[in-house]
Amino acid sequence: MTIDWNAFSPWTALAGGVLIGAAAAMLALLNGRIAGVSGVLGGLLKPKKADRAWRLAFVGGLAGAAVLYALLFGDPEVRVDAGYGALVAAGFSVGVGTRYGSGCTSGHGVCGLSRLSPRSLVATLSFMAAGFATAFILRHLIGL
């Protein structure tokens, strides 16, 4: 393992993390809901229409953040190296997987670990392990 010191950005990472935590805290304290992005988005696909408004608002806020960021600081760096076929396969896996696993990086990783939930710890270790393994296989064994 070699640390990429040029890419390493601990302070902005920490600051961004605090903002993410603050957003999760807001949703929990003000609305009594978990800021799990896959759960919030997936709930929009359920037949019952009762709680659609806050879900749409949260998703709109996420997408709107990029627009505000671009106005304030210039275009954010969002580098997508994967090709379209890979993106479709990846998106589908993420969609199915997060719903069966009842959460993603935000719901299990941030909210669940903050609550010291063993269930979320197992989920987080599972998706991290699979992420590390997939990156290793694609980049070093197949050499994409």
């Binding site: 935590g21 949260f58 997508v80 479709v88 969609g95 997060t98 699979a130 990156a135």
Partner: protein, 145 residues
Amino acid sequence: MTVFAALVAGFVFGLGLLVSGLANPGKVLGFLDLAGMWDPSLVFVMVGAIVVGMVAFPVAHQRTVSFLGSDMKLHTARHIDRRLVAGSLLFGVGWGIAGFCPGPALVALGTGQLKAVVFCLAMIAGMGVFELLEHRRAARAAATA
């Protein structure tokens, strides 16, 4: 009011993802690729978020209604089963392919990149397939009960 709070929360969440670099799949893959040039920044994102969360969630758990008066729906599921692990593994594979998880993908939609749109559509399709299968499973369970 809760809708406005959700909008602001989504907004702050999205800014956090952008500031931290988690919204950039290139940086995320730099973290997931342990064997290459490793970028440990994302560990700091998790630490920052969890420290704040560890202050807020104990307060939230003691309440019966939220500060805006809505019911508290903070998940209390504790069971660890095959669905949880298999689903999370599948999610991790997708994450490792593209470097996008759900939050950053929705944030990237706001940049207007076609690749983000394609990823999000595939992700929503995957979630739709899950709903369909769950619906069928529930129907089967009701038929045999």
